[in-house]
Structure formats: structure tokens, C-alpha cells
């Protein structure tokens, strides 16, 4: 009975559809324009750029924070530390508001794409339509999971229910990752369409899976996953810094000081892996198309890497600064504080080498004195050998800062503690020597061999970091404490370092987004669909920097609003005191 009714409905609908097809209306051909009208004032490109970038920043936030939340909740469960559980919940609450901001920006982005670039959108949607439906559907699951995760927090608080709750957090990450992977397929297709797709290929003829899993899809997926975790951590740290500066009681200050520390630890710790993912992505780009790779590294984008070097230098300095100030609040930290000036010297010299340009900007007399744009002496610092060496030593130094931080208030009790520490020192010294050796030796071998050296350097650094931290875990087993860390006794200026970190991370994301998108140059879809607007040329860095700054400011304003709203939903429960939570 029911079946027949459905058949009726389907029949009527189908008939209407046929009618529409053959009716005079359907017969009129309407060919959509390739481009919509140029966006007023700033132009279509800047409009879509800003919206896409801010959408992406929010997306990174709502994907990065669940990772953060699940990890901290797990620490809370298995480490039996209530503080982590509360931290996790506090962030999930912010997620609720951030989530709708992401969706709103996503909607805006979609509408701009449809109205400003209709031909591109219809091309992409023809290829990817199924994945677009799935994409939208995933949001239902993701929001449902998020609501259950947050609102079920206090209900499923203990025992097996708590584990189930944690499972919800994992599920939230699964949805988020799926969403990320799908969206990445679209944008990587624009960058690296499969080589058998030519301008003459009708979009319907493009094989879905080859377009979806294209050459740069996986590298971008991994790169973005890692970067999202970094980004989430740094935002958490900045949020904590704000709350710290605004805190009225010592307990509040202690809680947010600690939260800032955890956020920063995750951000910087995960950040150290990011270059590898970037290296893989770069290699895939070279492999996909040599010309695209050269445009990125040696062509007109080469100056972008000087700006990137500057930003990364700022990251290193700010992160270490925060750690060094933090030593002041750890009993026993003063033992290490006299070493910081030497570590700082390494960082500053590293930064100087890292940011020394190969071709220098100089006036006429200076050029004449140098005999060209390459300085006869400093010119050697402009090469990759020197830069890789500098950055590896900076990574080691930052790692050493963390190590000092870890050990500051502990007294090892194992009998071989001294030997262990000397071994650690030896490992670090050997690693630095190896890195330096390859850096210097790189000047005496051909380029091809030299490129291989950077891999050795990185592997050595990674191995050393893992070995030293592994050793440290054993040395510090059952270590005695010199006294608890005095959370909250942190000078205010340290918190501003956290702000510098978050701004730098956000800006860096914008810059790398420009690099990724800009290497397509005048193509919407590389070598398949050309950009024929007046904005086809990839803009110069100065203009790009201004747009990126606008994106960062818009994002920070919006996220500040999100935090403000989040603060209104529920104020209490944040302060880690063992007493029942006071009503606000």
C-alpha cells in the first residue's frame, strides 16, 4: 500500500521534471556568465581571499581544539587529574560558538564563489558533487556529536560512561578529519589535477577518485592536521593569557598560567614536526610539476621564504622567552637561568643567519663596494646549507629549554642520574657537531649532494630529541620534588609573548596559504582552467601581506567575540579549587 503511494509521488515528480524539460521555458538556453561582477571596492579576488582565509582559520580552530580536548580529557582520565578534564570542557564550550562562526563563514565563502566565480564553481561541483553532499551531511553528524560531547559532560562523568564520553570526543575528531579531507580534495585538485585532465576534458568525464586523491591531497591533509593541532594549542594559550591578565584571584591566575603553559607546550612541541610535512608537500609539488616547484622556491615567490624565516625566528624567540621567564616560578629553576644567555646567543645568531638574504637590498655605493648584490663574505650565509644548520640548532636549543623546564624542580633519585645527564649532554653535543659538520661540508660538495645533507641533519636532530627525552623519562623516575611549581607567579610580560605567538602562527598560516594558492599563478585549476579576470596575476608580497593582516585582524576580532560569548555561557568551574564550584 505504502509502496504504491510512493510510486505515485515519484511518477508525478518525474512527470513534472519531464514537462519542465520539454516546456518552452526549458527550451530557452541560458548560459551562465564565467565571472560575476567584480566585487565592489576590493575586487573579487581580495573578497574571496579574505573570506576563504578567515573561514580556514576558524576551521583550523574547530578542528584543532577537539584534538586538544580529547588529549587533555585522556590525561584527565588516566592521569586522574581533574584539572585537565575541566580544561578540556572549557574549550569544548568555546567550540560551540566557534562552530557556528565557521559555518557562517563557510556559507559566505560558498555564496561568494557561486556569485563571483560561477564557471569555476560549476566545473568543480560537476566533478565533486557527491563529495559535496557527503561534506554537508557530515556536518549534521559532527554537530550532533559535539552537542552530545559538551552537554553530556557532567552526565557521563564517571566509570564506563566517562570512557564512552571520551569515545564521543574521538568520534568528533573523526568527523572533523573527514570534513577536512574532503575539502582538501577540492582545493588540491585545483592545484594538481591529474595529468590526463586537459582543458578539453569535460568535467563529467573526469574520474572521480583520481581527481579526489590527487598528487598533493595526502601531503596537504597531513600538513593541515598537524598545523591545526599547533594552531589549536596556540589559541588555547592566548585565551589563557588573556584570562590570566584579567584574573582577579590567585587561584584563577594559577589555573590560567597552567593552561597557557599546556597550550604553548602542545603548540611548540607539535610545531617541531611540521617542517617534515612541509618538506613532503614541497617534494610532491616538485614531482607533480617541476615548474610549479621552481615558481614556489626559486621563482618570483623566493622572497616569501625570507618573510617566513622572519616569522619563524619570532616564533622561536617568543617561545623560548616564555619558557625562560617561566623558570622563575619553579623552585630550582634558578640553577638553569644562567645558561639562558648562551642559548639566547645561539638563537640570535641562528636568527641572523637564517634571515640573511642571498641577494641584498643595497644602494649604489654599497653595491659597488660589494661588486654586486651578493656580499662577498656574508653571501655564504644566504645559502641553504647555512640556513638549515641555523634552524636545526635553533630547534635543538628550544628543545633544551623544554628539558630545563622539565627538570627544574626535580631531584633524580636513580643511582645513574649523573651518567645519564652526561649522556644526554653528550648526545646533544654530538648532534650539534654533526649538524654543523654537514652545514660546513655542504659548501664543498655539489648541490645535489647538499640537498641530501639537510635530510641527515633533520634525522639527527629528531633522533637526538627522542633519545634524550626517552632517557629523561627514566632518569626522572621517582624523582624527588624541590617543591611545587608556583603557578600564577608569572610576570605579565610573559603572557604577551603568548599573544605574539598566536598572532605569528595565524599570520604564518595566512602567508603559507598565499604561497600554496599563489603558485597556481594565473590558473583556477592548474593548466586546465585559466583565470581570465584582471586579477589573474599573483600579487606581490606587499599587497598579499596587507590582505593577510586584514584576515588575521578579522579572525582575532571574531575569536575574541567568541571567547566573550563563551565566557557568558558559564563563568564558573574554571578555577581549579577542590571546593565545590561557587555560584557566580
Amino acid at each position: 500500500m505504502r509502496t504504491t503511494r510512493w510510486m505515485w509521488v515519484a511518477g508525478i515528480l518525474g512527470g513534472l521534471g519531464l514537462l519542465a524539460l520539454f516546456s518552452p521555458l526549458g527550451a530557452q538556453t541560458y548560459s551562465p556568465p564565467t565571472y560575476g561582477e567584480d566585487f565592489p571596492l576590493i575586487g573579487s579576488r581580495a573578497a574571496i581571499w579574505i573570506v576563504a582565509q578567515t573561514h580556514l582559520m576558524f576551521a583550523a580552530f574547530v578542528l584543532g581544539v577537539p584534538m586538544f580536548a580529547v588529549v587533555t580529557e585522556a590525561i584527565g582520565i588516566w592521569g586522574k587529574d581533574e584539572r585537565y578534564d575541566r580544561l578540556s570542557k572549557e574549550f569544548t564550550r568555546l567550540l560551540l560558538v566557534a562552530y557556528s562562526a565557521t559555518a557562517l563563514l563557510g556559507g559566505l565563502f560558498l555564496f561568494l564563489l557561486v556569485t563571483l566565480y560561477p564557471a569555476l564553481f560549476s566545473y568543480l561541483s560537476e566533478i565533486f558533487k557527491v563529495s559535496m553532499w557527503i561534506y554537508a551531511a557530515l556536518f549534521f553528524f559532527e554537530s550532533a556529536t559535539l552537542y552530545m560531547y559538551y552537554y553530556g559532560w557532567d552526565r557521563w562523568k564517571t566509570g564506563r560512561a566517562k570512557l564512552g564520553h571520551w569515545g564521543l570526543g574521538i568520534l568528533l575528531n573523526v568527523w572533523g578529519t573527514a570534513v577536512l579531507f574532503i575539502a582538501n580534495a577540492w582545493l588540491t585538485f585545483m592545484m594538481s589535477p591529474p595529468s590526463d585532465v586537459t582543458p578539453d576534458t569535460a568535467p563529467a568525464m573526469v574520474q572521480f577518485w583520481s581527481a579526489f586523491a590527487n598528487a598533493t591531497w595526502m601531503p596537504i591533509n597531513i600538513h593541515r592536521l598537524i598545523a591545526n593541532a599547533v594552531f589549536g594549542g596556540s589559541i588555547v594559550a592566548a585565551y589563557a593569557a588573556y584570562r590570566f591578565l584579567k584574573a582577579k584571584s590567585d587561584e584563577e591566575r594559577a589555573h590560567y598560567d597552567w593552561m597557557g603553559y599546556v597550550g604553548n607546550l602542545i603548540a611548540i612541541g607539535v610545531f617541531l614536526v611540521l617542517p617534515f610535512a612541509g618538506y613532503w608537500l614541497g617534494r610532491e609539488i616538485y614531482e607533480y610539476n617541476q615548474q610549479m616547484g621552481i615558481t614556489m622556491m626559486g621563482g618570483f615567490m623566493s622572497w616569501l621564504w625570507i618573510v617566513q624565516a622572519f616569522l619563524i625566528g619570532v616564533l622561536f624567540l617568543a617561545a623560548n622567552y616564555y619558557l625562560w621567564i617561566g623558570l622563575g616560578r619553579i623552585p630550582g629553576g634558578e640553577r638553569f637561568s644562567r645558561y639562558t644567555k648562551w642559548m639566547l646567543a645561539v638563537l640570535v645568531i641562528g636568527f641572523i643567519v637564517w634571515a640573511t638574504p642571498h641577494s641584498m637590498i643595497a644602494d649604489r655605493d654599497e653595491l659597488a663596494a660589494m661588486g654586486g648584490t651578493h656580499h662577498p663574505f656574508l653571501g655564504v650565509l644566504g645559502l641553504m646549507s647555512a640556513k638549515n644548520t641555523a634552524v636545526n640548532l635553533m630547534i635543538l636549543t628550544t628543545f633544551l629549554s623544554f628539558l630545563m623546564y622539565r627538570r627544574a624542580n626535580k631531584i633524580p633519585t636513580v643511582s645513574w642520574a649523573k651518567t645519564g645527564t652526561i649522556t644526554q649532554g653528550g648526545l646533544l653535543a654530538v648532534c650539534s657537531a654533526v649538524v654543523l659538520f654537514y652545514g660546513v661540508y655542504g659548501y664543498f660538495v655539489p648541490t645535489i649532494t647538499r640537498i641530501g645533507f639537510s635530510v641527515y641533519q633533520v634525522l639527527w636532530v629528531l633522533f637526538t630529541i627522542l633519545a634524550v627525552i626517552g632517557l629523561d623519562l627514566f632518569i626522572m623516575r621517582r624523582a624527588e620534588s624541590r617543591g611545587p611549581i608556583r603557578w600564577g607567579q608569572m610576570p605579565e610580560r610573559s603572557q604577551y609573548a603568548l599573544f605574539i605567538l598566536v598572532v605569528t602562527f595565524t599570520w604564518l598560516m595566512g602567508l603559507m596559504g598565499f604561497a600554496r594558492s599563489g603558485i597556481r599563478q594565473h590558473w583556477h585549476v592548474w593548466e586546465v582552467m585559466r583565470d581570465t579576470t584582471e586579477h589573474a596575476a599573483t600579487p606581490a608580497l606587499g599587497y598579499a601581506a596587507q590582505v593577510i593582516s586584514v584576515c588575521v585582524i578579522v579572525f582575532l576580532l571574531m575569536i575574541a567575540f567568541v571567547f566573550w560569548i563563551g565566557g557568558m555561557i558559564a563563568k564558573p568551574q574554571l578555577v581549579p579549587d577542590p571546593e565545590p564550584v561557587p555560584a557566580d
Binding site: D196, T198, P199, Y242, L245, K246, N289, Q290, Q291, I294, T295, G298, G299, F300, W303, I306, V307, F310, L311, V314, I361, P446, T447, Y496, F499, I500, V503, T504, W507, G518, Q521, H522, E527, A536, A537, T538, P539, A540, L541, G542, Y543, A544, A545, Q546, I548, S549, V552, I553, L556
Partner: protein, 258 residues
Amino acid sequence: MSSVDLKIIAVVLATIGAFTLVANVIPQVESDVPPDIAFGADVSPEELVEVGEQLYQGAGGCLACHAESPGARGPNIITDYRGQGPIGVRCADRVPGLDCKEYLYQALVRPGDHVVDDYPLIMPPTDRTLTQPQIWAIVAYLQSLGGEVTVTGADIPDEDEAEVETDPALASTDPVELIQVHCLRCHVYEGEGIDIGRPLDDIGAHRSADELRRAILDPPSVVAEGYEDVVGLMPLDFGRQLNAEQLEALVAYLSTRR
């Protein structure tokens, strides 16, 4: 707004401002978009050379590999290659039977056909990024480097014609001719051709007509024993290069080779 808020705003804006400033003091370069050009029949060699040079150094992307510096990714064609002079001097002698103009055009459109020894095949076919007039302008520029420019307006097809204008052999349905045009670049047949893929002399004894058809249209689906290493080398677009009549003629012919 409290002083803390103001301080935070100041720190954030100062950081953003510093980054923007750094990005603005370095040299500002915008990417080049290849100009859309159309030449009349009476275009002068000088005009062609000028446009070609711009493309060579800019949007064509040639200079990225074919640079003067030692250790460049591609052979140096603009100043001197191993003492033989720039490309204009030696283009006529590169491939027997091809004059300078034809050689250069082929090398640009099908780089794989004439790779210079010792260099890997990394060059993309230029007709994917450039229009026919642009390619011919580059040919003219390359000729001008030590040679005489012989490209004229008559060489340059209209964009639409370029698609149609093909080697007469490509339109043939004679299987032997098809093999010569399409297959010998990678397969040996009757003692001719290059030994990369499986020889075709006895292919009919090992493959049915169905398998052959599949192997041509979707090469990875049929792998010859001993040639697993070269899976993926065979172009995937023979379904577009051949029409149905040609494909069937080729399949029928090959399946009788025993």
C-alpha cells in the same frame, strides 16, 4: 576597555604591523601572466622575437630550467651548450631530417621526443600552458639566438585550427602506419622502435583482441610479464588519440601477429 585590553591590542597590532612592514620593504614582484597574442599573416620576425623573448624570460617559465648558470636543470640553450654555441646555431643539426623551425616546435610541444643526452625528461609540453602563437614566438626567439628567424605569419595557425591541424599519418587507418606513429617510441616492431615496453612482433600469440583493446585504452590493466617496471609509462590517452576505426584496425592487426 581596561589598560590590559589596550596593551594586548597594541602588542597584537605591533606584531601584525611588523610582519606587514617586512613583507613590504623587500622587492615587490608580481607574477607574469602570459599575454594573449595574435599575429597577423604579415608579422615581422622582430615582433615575434620580442614577444618570444618576453615569454622565454617571463611567463613561459623557460628560464627556470634553461638558464645560463652551470648546473641548471636543463641544457643551456641561450648562450652556449658544450661549446656548440646557442640554440639558433645548432637547431638545424639536432635531429636529422628536421629543419631548425620544425625541430624547435616539436621540442616545445613534445619534449619527450628529443631529450638531450644526460638530462632527465622533466619538461612539460608547452602547448598545455601556451597558445600556438606564443609557442611560435618562442621558436622565433630561439632561432634568433645565433641563427636566422624563418618563422612567418603563415606558420602560425589560428587557435582553433591548431587542434585540427595534425600529421596526416595520425588520420590514417593503416595499422602499420599507426604503429609507426604511436607505438615505436616505446615498443619494438619488426626491428624498429625503442625497447621500453613489450615488443609487438608476437603479441597476437599472447593476447586476445579483447585484451589488446584493453591494453591500449587502459594500459595498467594489462601488464606484460617482465615489464612490470614500466607500468604507468604508457600514455593513458590513446582512447582520445585514436578514433574507433583506427583502434579496431590496430587491434585486428596486432592480434594476428604471431
